[in-house]
Amino acid sequence: MMIIVRITMAALVGAALCLPAAGVSEEAPAAAPAAAAETVKSFGGPALVTDIGQGNTGKLVEVMLRKSAAVEFTADPLAKADALAGVKTLVVGVGASTKGLGAAGLDSDQEMARGKELLAKAKELGIPVIGVHIGGEARRGEMSDSFNRMVCESSAVFIVWKGGDEDGFFKAICEEKKIRYEVVEAKPAAGAVLATLFGKAAASPAE
């Protein structure tokens, strides 16, 4: 049974950064909890959705947020630090694609630098980060994991499709850094988790 803790906005941000998932099992079920009638608005809008690694996860996050209408957001896969003005939550889809980087005219060093600067600015401004990795094994490996680690370590909540964390890479980081770890059985279910984080009771992934 899921227990959902009601915490004020400011306290929740601090709690998410410092405490393990309060009242939410680390092995979160695929769908948002059915007992979501009493949801907590954990993160606010407007949100900025971006992609670090150019593996298209950011695009999928856009799809999920659009479908759930959980939060007002803008999207820019190449967002820089100055795009954070007025933003209340930064949602980062992470996972590297050499094709995506090439299409964006970036090499991995340039993308890493952009990501670092963006995350550092978010931290400076007190903007919480939700990290999302649903690319599976295709978005793991030496290059991807350098991006993956950076984003995961900077997140207040990290949502991962189980197929991309078979080796416990993300789980270990979250445990070490006390980051809320949300694993989903199916990729679209990440949308339900996101909706819940933004305080909306989302439909089950099957609908």
């Binding site: 298209n56 695009k59 999928l60 799809v63 050499t98 094709k99 599976g136 490996g141 990729k187």
Partner: protein, 565 residues
């Protein structure tokens, strides 16, 4: 040590592939006395085997695989694209080649495709050329097949209608191509599940394509090349800015050509002529034959890799200098493949250091993604079919022929921007290609057939795997599995796959190569599918590339009927 670990991983991968995507376990490598198919998707392999079980020959199997793989691996090829078929007829000890490269529409001139708008060549209706796959596949099948067109097309129709399982490679490519797919409502229906890239094991369907394929099966290729499907194709694509007319479709014909060949270490290696990439492979091999490979040191020794890289650079320089449509440009093929020219070029190779760019003049090259697909079939009689087919980039540029389920090629970008190039754009001309399926014979019998996708890495990968087998004597699957390199004349970069030791990479860098490292089993280096034949026993061995969802499978028992050709 790392190389050994990689080989061990590949061998384990080469054993049973798990049922992760809902299909019965199959293997990357297999043997059979009765018939063998190696291709990039298990369902495509099954399509080919079914034809041989019914009494069809290797060509019937090849035609079935050609249509089926276009359904099950839709980013790599399809009836919106083109290809090249090399066919070895055992009874005649002869290699026949069918070239069905895309062709520019007759309205494609320097006025309608001005150089100043070259970026527009890769968008919408201007991006694709007249597709040749239907014409080519039907042409070689009519020439050499035994079963009916309807029979060989049925597996593809079934897959498009009833669905096919998504493998790891397709799942990844759809993810990588998400923007392109999401921008086209027809492609969203064909390739996404609930607006998401499909996971491995999920099924995709393409009922529009099933209907199109069924009409072709019932009526022949003419229904596309001038008939009602062609009319619908033209009407739908002209709305997107295409210049292709019904007359362009009516005029399109597959070309039956003579294959190029060289003698290599006592064997004969056949590769396709222009505008395809066969000359690139043969140029490379002619050079390598003249270089002091140290066989005892192995295929992955730094010195052998260095020599192969230098051969690739020189070979590619010559290929790009002359590559074009032979109907429009004279190509000095005989001279380029002559002993005299090869001797001259081989002398340029320095065993101690990499040639610089200044030492190899630069020309234009397309650094595109490694799309395309390759499959190989051999039957019990020793007939062999080696086919590479493509759309160009993954899913082309995301343009479909409305209502027909066809993803279109993006081949117009493959013409050279230079008006003086042998590959310059002209109305009706076929752009050059690196596609290079090969067939190897010895003493009048087929012993090996193979090929690869992978953009310009096709010629380097095919070269490297051939050398692994023919020079270093590696077992077939191992020859595919060990890490690869690729080098091109235009810079000093040596593309290397993960798996070489740090010492090897350091030794290559010390010779002046600028090593650019890719991932393990990286699709950048293609996806080889090969079949070898023991001329003494007739035993067929298939091998497939772990870099794609490739598998090989042979007939377990003699077919129920016997092919008569």
């Amino acid at each position: 040590m790392k190389t050994l670990r990689l080989i061990a991983v590949a061998v384990l991968m080469g054993a049973a592939i798990p049922t992760a995507y809902g299909l019965a376990p199959v293997s990357r490598t297999s043997t059979s006395q009765y018939g063998m198919v190696a291709a990039a998707h298990p369902l495509a392999v099954e399509a080919g085997l079914r034809m041989m079980e019914k009494g069809g020959n290797a060509v019937d199997a090849a035609a079935a695989v050609a249509f089926a793989v276009g359904v099950a691996e839709p980013f790599g090829s399809g009836i919106g694209g083109d290809g090249i078929a090399m066919i070895y007829i055992a009874s005649e000890n002869k290699v026949d080649a069918f070239e069905y490269r895309c062709a520019a529409p007759m309205a494609a001139t320097r006025n309608t495709y001005p150089e100043s708008t070259r970026s527009e060549w890769t968008k919408g209706g201007k991006s694709f050329a007249v597709p040749g796959l239907i014409a080519g596949t039907c042409a070689f099948h009519e020439q050499y097949g035994q079963l009916s067109l309807a029979e060989v097309m049925q597996p593809a129709i079934d897959m498009a209608e009833n669905g096919y399982a998504v493998g790891p490679a397709l799942s990844k490519v759809i993810s990588d191509s998400y923007d392109k797919i999401a921008a086209n409502p027809e492609m969203v229906k064909m390739f996404l599940v609930d607006e998401f890239p499909p996971e491995v094991g999920q099924r995709l369907r393409n009922p529009m394509l099933a209907k199109t394929l069924r009409l072709i099966a019932e009526n022949g290729p003419e229904i596309f090349y001038g008939g009602p499907i062609g009319e619908q194709f033209v009407a739908g694509t002209r709305e997107q800015g295409s210049l292709i007319t019904l007359d362009d479709l009516k005029a399109y014909k597959a070309r039956r050509t003579e294959a190029l060949s060289i003698d290599y270490r006592g064997m004969k290696i056949y590769a396709p002529t222009m505008p395809m990439g066969g000359i690139g492979v043969l140029l490379n091999l002619n050079l390598i034959e003249r270089l002091p490979l140290d066989i005892a040191a192995g295929a992955s020794s730094p010195q052998n890799l260095h020599l192969m890289a230098e051969a690739m650079k020189l070979g590619s320089r010559d290929r790009y200098a002359v590559s074009g449509d032979p109907m429009f440009t004279k190509i000095p093929t005989e001279w380029l493949l002559s002993d005299e020219y090869s001797d001259q070029r081989a002398k340029l190779v320095n065993p101690s250091r990499a040639l610089t760019v200044a030492e190899i003049p630069v020309g234009p090259v397309d650094q595109g993604p490694g799309s395309t697909t390759h499959f190989t079939i051999m039957d019990a009689k020793g007939n062999a079919v080696s086919i590479t087919q493509t759309l160009g980039g993954y899913f082309g540029v995301g343009v479909t022929a409305p209502g027909l389920g066809i993803v279109l090629n993006d081949q117009m970008k493959n013409f050279s921007p230079s008006a003086s190039s042998p590959n310059a754009l002209y109305p009706g001309k076929r752009m050059n290609s690196t596609q290079s399926p090969v067939i190897v014979t010895k003493d009048g019998q087929s012993i090996l057939a193979m090929g690869s996708p992978g953009n310009y890495r096709i010629t380097t990968t095919v070269t490297e795997v051939l050398v692994n087998i023919l020079d270093f004597g590696l077992p077939l699957q191992e020859a595919l599995d060990i890490p690869r390199i690729s080098a091109l004349y235009r810079d000093e970069i040596l593309e290397v796959e993960s798996g070489f030791s740090a010492e090897t990479l350091a030794a290559l860098a010390a010779k002046g190569h600028k090593v650019n490292k890719h991932g393990e089993m990286d699709m950048f280096f293609g996806g080889v599918h090969a079949v070898a034949r023991d001329p003494k026993t007739g035993l067929l061995t298939g091998a497939a590339d772990a870099r794609r969802d490739g598998v090989s499978k042979g007939l377990a028992e003699p077919p129920k009927a016997t092919a008569t050709r």
